[in-house]
Amino acid sequence: MSMQSQDIIRRSATSSLTPPPQVRDHKLEVAKLIDVTVCIGCKGCQVACSEWNDIRDEVGHNHGIYDNPVDLTAKSWTVMRFAEHQDEGGRLQWLIRKDGCMHCADPGCLKSCPAPGAIIQYANGVVDFQSEHCIGCGYCVTGCPFNVPRINKDDHKAYKCSLCSDRLAIGQEPSCVKTCPTGAIQFGTKEDMKLVADDRVKDLKERGFANAGLYDPQGVGGTHVMYVLHHADRPELYSGLPANPAISPLVSIWKGVTKPLATLALAGVALGSLFHYVTKGPNEVSREIEEEIEAEDKEAAK
């Protein structure tokens, strides 16, 4: 499971003073570019994901909508979300977004995880769960600004898209990219994907989508899964894609200042108590009062 990739730039519950092996930290950042405007909603990516990663979700129920399964699960790392949108001209648009882990540059899951090494970030930007170290607390779910990780009810461990880190390691693209029949999902260096996106956005603007744009939210330091959207000004239209995702301030307080402050305060109380005892001495019952009691006893005995 633990590949000796030696390009791990971040490791959960580990101080930057004791970094993980990262001698190969020169690697280029990669990105998956999902062009929502070209997606036909075939769900080939869902099938490819399930096949390559060899996971079989329960066959669910028809909920009366195209989304199937209706949500990400521990065994469905990507799902297509279908949203109907009526544009200004009254025309129907079907906004189909392939949902899954965004592989944030500043991952809220990794920040929240209390288990050393259960979540790692590679130099190429992939955020990967190391399931054998996962303790099942669900803090990654609490920390994620995109509501992606899911706890598996069978083994109580968290799962999500790995961006096919195993395929990437041997120079292949993620399986969803490989399978996409319309080329809506592309993969390459992040820089290249931005160039591809630029062309697509330019094209869309020429075709009347004035607000077309790239979704690479800076609130989480940018992501390694990016979208080309026709309505980049309103990402919420795409089944609630957050407009300005960021690690919640509550999570930042919890996993930020609270940790060193509380640890120092507790150390202060412990040392303060010790030195109080050493400098002030114990609070003994005074000899005077003991003698008073003894005198009373003698008095009573008479």
């Binding site: 109380v269 108590s273 009691i293």
Partner: protein, 206 residues
């Protein structure tokens, strides 16, 4: 060793057992909780059979502590009502800490500091219980904002509570003759007369 039959009974067996149930669960909770709170304490999970066991057991131990605390809360609540003498004691607490307790006002079964401790721990316990339920994913699935709030409150209140208990334990070590009350329930008359003269008068009729 036969103790002085004239020693004063401070806690009965049931109260002592109740206190120890809280004490044991607190220690287990603090060790496992610190492990999840800060990576520096993560090795403490080994006391529980590894990190996964620590994660599984922690909330159940929390339920035990919350229930045991609730019982002791109602047992001792009436003894912890703040009085003007307590406020005076608190105003002079610095002298006490400096080691000079000669001019401290007369105190009942509990002094002002102990009463502040009682209420502070009660508030922490309430916060810990509510926030703990919010983040207990094995059984509950609350709204994400509530879970995040729960996580911060649980961490902060937990740290405060551990600090308070450290003070509580240290005070018992510092004031000689106190710890026996927790073990077998009695204190000497001299101890009571010095530290809790009001209570001493009440139980001895002097």
């Amino acid at each position: 060793m036969i103790r002085d039959p004239k020693d004063l009974k401070r806690y009965n067996a049931s109260e002592r057992a109740n206190h120890w149930l809280i004490g044991i669960s607190f220690i287990l909770l603090a060790l496992s909780g610190l492990a999840f709170f800060h990576p520096a304490f993560f090795p403490l999970t080994q006391f529980f059979g590894g990190p996964v066991w620590a994660r599984i057991l922690h909330p159940y131990i929390g339920v035990v502590m919350a229930l045991a605390f609730l019982i002791i809360f109602f047992r001792f609540k009436h003894l912890n009502k703040m009085t003007p003498a307590d406020k005076e004691w608190l105003a002079k607490a610095k002298n006490m800490v400096d080691g000079n307790d000669h001019d401290m006002p007369e105190q009942g079964k509990y002094n002002g500091g102990q009463k502040v401790m009682f209420w502070a721990l009660a508030v922490c316990m309430l916060l810990m219980t509510v926030s703990g339920l919010l983040i207990w994913r094995a059984w509950f699935g609350f709204d994400i904002t509530l879970v995040r709030l729960g996580a911060v409150v649980h961490a902060a209140a937990g740290a405060v509570m551990i600090g308070l208990i450290m003070v509580h334990v240290y005070a018992a070590i510092w004031v000689k003759g106190t710890i026996r009350a927790m073990w077998y329930g009695t204190v000497t008359r001299a101890w009571a007369k010095q530290h809790h003269r009001g209570w001493y008068r009440q139980v001895t009729g002097k």
